[in-house]
Symmetry: D2
Subunit: 342 residues, 4 copies
Amino acid sequence: MLNIGIIGAGRIGKVHTQSIVNFVRQAKVKAIADPMLNDATVEWAKSCGISQATKNYRDIINDPEIDAVLICSSTDTHSAISLEAIAAGKHVFCEKPIDHDIGRIKEVLAALETESAKGLKYMVGFNRRFDHNFRALRAAVTSGQVGKVELVKITSRDPEPPSAEYAAVSGGIFLDMTIHDFDMARYLSGDEVEEVFVQPAVLVDPAIGEAGDFDSAVITLRLRSGALAVIDNCRRCAYGYDQRAEVFGSEGAALCGNDSASNAQVWNSAGEAKEKPLFFFLERYMQAYATEVTEFIEAVMNDTEVPVDAYAGLAAVLIGIAATKSAKTGLPVKISEIEANI
Amino acid sequence: MLNIGIIGAGRIGKVHTQSIVNFVRQAKVKAIADPMLNDATVEWAKSCGISQATKNYRDIINDPEIDAVLICSSTDTHSAISLEAIAAGKHVFCEKPIDHDIGRIKEVLAALETESAKGLKYMVGFNRRFDHNFRALRAAVTSGQVGKVELVKITSRDPEPPSAEYAAVSGGIFLDMTIHDFDMARYLSGDEVEEVFVQPAVLVDPAIGEAGDFDSAVITLRLRSGALAVIDNCRRCAYGYDQRAEVFGSEGAALCGNDSASNAQVWNSAGEAKEKPLFFFLERYMQAYATEVTEFIEAVMNDTEVPVDAYAGLAAVLIGIAATKSAKTGLPVKISEIEANI
Amino acid sequence: MLNIGIIGAGRIGKVHTQSIVNFVRQAKVKAIADPMLNDATVEWAKSCGISQATKNYRDIINDPEIDAVLICSSTDTHSAISLEAIAAGKHVFCEKPIDHDIGRIKEVLAALETESAKGLKYMVGFNRRFDHNFRALRAAVTSGQVGKVELVKITSRDPEPPSAEYAAVSGGIFLDMTIHDFDMARYLSGDEVEEVFVQPAVLVDPAIGEAGDFDSAVITLRLRSGALAVIDNCRRCAYGYDQRAEVFGSEGAALCGNDSASNAQVWNSAGEAKEKPLFFFLERYMQAYATEVTEFIEAVMNDTEVPVDAYAGLAAVLIGIAATKSAKTGLPVKISEIEANI
Amino acid sequence: MLNIGIIGAGRIGKVHTQSIVNFVRQAKVKAIADPMLNDATVEWAKSCGISQATKNYRDIINDPEIDAVLICSSTDTHSAISLEAIAAGKHVFCEKPIDHDIGRIKEVLAALETESAKGLKYMVGFNRRFDHNFRALRAAVTSGQVGKVELVKITSRDPEPPSAEYAAVSGGIFLDMTIHDFDMARYLSGDEVEEVFVQPAVLVDPAIGEAGDFDSAVITLRLRSGALAVIDNCRRCAYGYDQRAEVFGSEGAALCGNDSASNAQVWNSAGEAKEKPLFFFLERYMQAYATEVTEFIEAVMNDTEVPVDAYAGLAAVLIGIAATKSAKTGLPVKISEIEANI
């Protein structure tokens, strides 16, 4: 039985907790920590069978009975808590991104290389890799059904834009939203990104532009193998959360679409209608979140490789920084430029 | 170069003429005959390059330069004109049905068996056999992709009901509308029908019921091989002409759906919408009509088998009569009962 | 907190137990009973947090702390245990069918009418009513999107046939398999069945025929409103569990298809391919089972109507008996005939 | 009755001739010209009812009875023949591109502005604008169904790569293949392109790369309104001709896919399969070609605007030249730079 501590009891912390309680028999959430801890959260924790609730995440880090921590706190705390947890000998599942600062991400990678960290698992929460549709695409690639990969296409649109305030502190669309798509491009292709070019736009909310960010973009990627990838993003989508992908190769293509609450259609004099996609990430990726945390726990318990390692966390942020620079300069940016400047 | 005479210049006569003019280089429509011949029809004929137009179909039958006739006149004249045309040594393409009277159909079959008719082609106009979708289904069956056929399912719904007046003289829904589906069941299965049971209903227009007919029905068929078929019909369909089929067998199923004017979809906050099916038979089967008449002409010119022979015309009417009887008695009816009573 | 006893720890008993443990916070499985109780089952019960396991279901019936029982035992015990449970003042969720004998079902209905049973909930386990696709169809009907219902079509095919031994004791295909579709016809139409006609066949396994049963059938139903329904069944389906439905009405149609593990497609030189449907009922209806048991518990706790009442259990068996008679006689059978003969 | 002369009796010249013969009653192909004229072509012309066949296109230009010419000759002759035809007072339908040289295209535009050309129609053969699917997308845009256009996405893949020899003289992939997609981006958005960035690649045939061309590319476009467009191209596609498009806007999206020979599906133990797209442009766009030439003739006869004017021919080539430059420099290129350098 694995004892787990949840650091950060916001939306995503609760999702992971619930998944463990409902689906993972061999693990137990022993404690949660949240700086804003209030009665409602304590009540919720109790209803999940969690007896310990604290405002101080160090109560978890220092608890010798806790084997693994899930870092679900605010982004700016991820790398620091990661380092403390590794030092305390805990296995770590860290929500993406590890940090927006490459140097701090590298500190985490270095900490994992130390003697004392031997055997510790560190996984980054790129939840989409656990989605049934994207996994089916990846399986089509690895089984050779599309041949040599030549192009990865990803459409990723949010149903509703964030506030301009959020946009201003989010790190920008490329580190906040596209980062998932950068990871998906790596995952689906099994390849590394070498160059990024961004055509950014402010088409949804001028206030987002005034905050220095963008709400729409087309991003092209050149991969190490010579293959290409293209991502289109929008912060607003009238029909809901649009998450589609396509991998095109020498032998064919693999494509996946959105999921809906049902596959029912209504045919009438106006035409043939079916339901919109599931509203947003909690609806679309609920099963993916459960699979993700389950696979983390399995990797810890069986001492096998985690499905998304710390390097994946580094790579996606590097691409995001390159994309941000491309958006500002209007020029293509090589990942090697970004790495060289650190 | 084959010379053709068109008997009956109504809607379907015009469709066939147009197909020959547009697509069949090796045939020429020499004459048309229509008892209602008027200036507009003469004008139309001229625009198609047809110089002869007559009120008397015998002008065509007796024209020694005409090789083949297309009988597109009213149903009650089909068998009589067929007999005259065969006697005059013409190849015949006859719109369905040959007749509603089995005895008269058998006279036509007998005439085709005479010495003097040797080499004459006689084809019945079951246009749906030439539709790209149904042909793909049949190809899936003959290539073994569905294994041994166990069930044929046909949905056939018209966009708008006929008038009660039409219903009263149409021969009834089973001989007027379902007859196409009976032929399709034979075509898709490659099998013969042995027993029919009808659940008829008047759900669309009570006047159709008062005229002694039905506007809705579910018809089950037992085939000689033991396989089953089921047809559902309705004289009204809010979303247009619904023409779908499915063949289920030991190895799988083959299914086809409707055609639309385009495959475009619109996704918005109301859901995902696509176009209705093509409105009615002229839209859906326009290409099938062209293929049908082309294949008739090819069979004549190459002296090969016609794709829909006179027996198919007999078989569909036999099933239609059995269905009509089942609807009246509320009991299953064997085709052999119908044949025995003639 | 509701205390629940599970009677019958076979496949479906385990599914319901798991659903309650995973998803229903306000209920607790206190005990399971199974005449074949073995170590593995006891172990499994423990892993679900159930401390009591017994071979004797009366330990559950007589436990005053238990509020509700789930009857998941063999079909022949359903009605007897139902009666005992009702007498003991327990709420009951009973797997379908209540019984194959109409008289015994009516005893259960009568018991529910007694003064002492006032306030007790009795629900029958027609799980498909809780499936997201069928619910969306029903919603399209009740919201008026299809207008007046004219035709319900149901396709229901199992991936693999049962053994002839099972077929011999199953009550026959119409009471064992089609019973779900009979309930679905009632559910989707909101109407009652008046007449049944069956075209049965043995096309899959001759041994099933020798056992006196059928493995294929087309069943037509006439409903009280005059609308029709048609069901096609097969005990074997090469591509897996086929569960589709369509409701056609004066304003349009609502249709639903199968679910797959993903919506990924692979396009290559052979064509465009997508995955087969989910294999069988446990895969397809897993979420439906969880919703079903959740709604039972909610109905008990909130004292609201159960979503599938005992009368639904009676109606489906009546139709099944009529269908069985129709298959034997080759004639249509009225439900009123069946009721009159009891 | 309009008299038409066809200049160039290659594949596309024959397609247009056939369309006029089959479908356009009010026009007549009077003559064809082809420098390679041989017996087979003369024979073919006769079978189409065309009596005049010449090696010298000036026989057509100088024929006072000919009202309109279709320029279907090799690309390098388009602008010169256009100028001669305009000077001779002929209406012109010119296959794309007018020229690869912007200066020569502008000469054609200038010639059309002269007094003597008043009333002459000049249309460029961007056939895809006449495709039923793309027209449905455009209709969704103009009717406001997608709101303000934010992104146009076009996938355009050929089934088989050209020879390296062809690639070397084709003007390059962007002027030879993508030019259609550039026009489509303008057509679907109703907007003008301001900037182009190309990620080109040689992934299919190294010989194409050695010939100085590319066989794969992702092209991003910035439009005047601020909207974006993205095109992905490949010269080889295992499943055939892939021609899809999507327009995304503030209110939703409109999408269209490929056409197949039928919509039949086969479901078996391997999954659910449907047919590949129609093989190549002649199959996919056959109807579009007929509509295109019909609308040209209608514009001439009714003195209305042609659906694709000479400016569209200029605009697409400008974008193609910008794309070619971007591919070479690895940098985004503004259309205004290209225009300024001429």
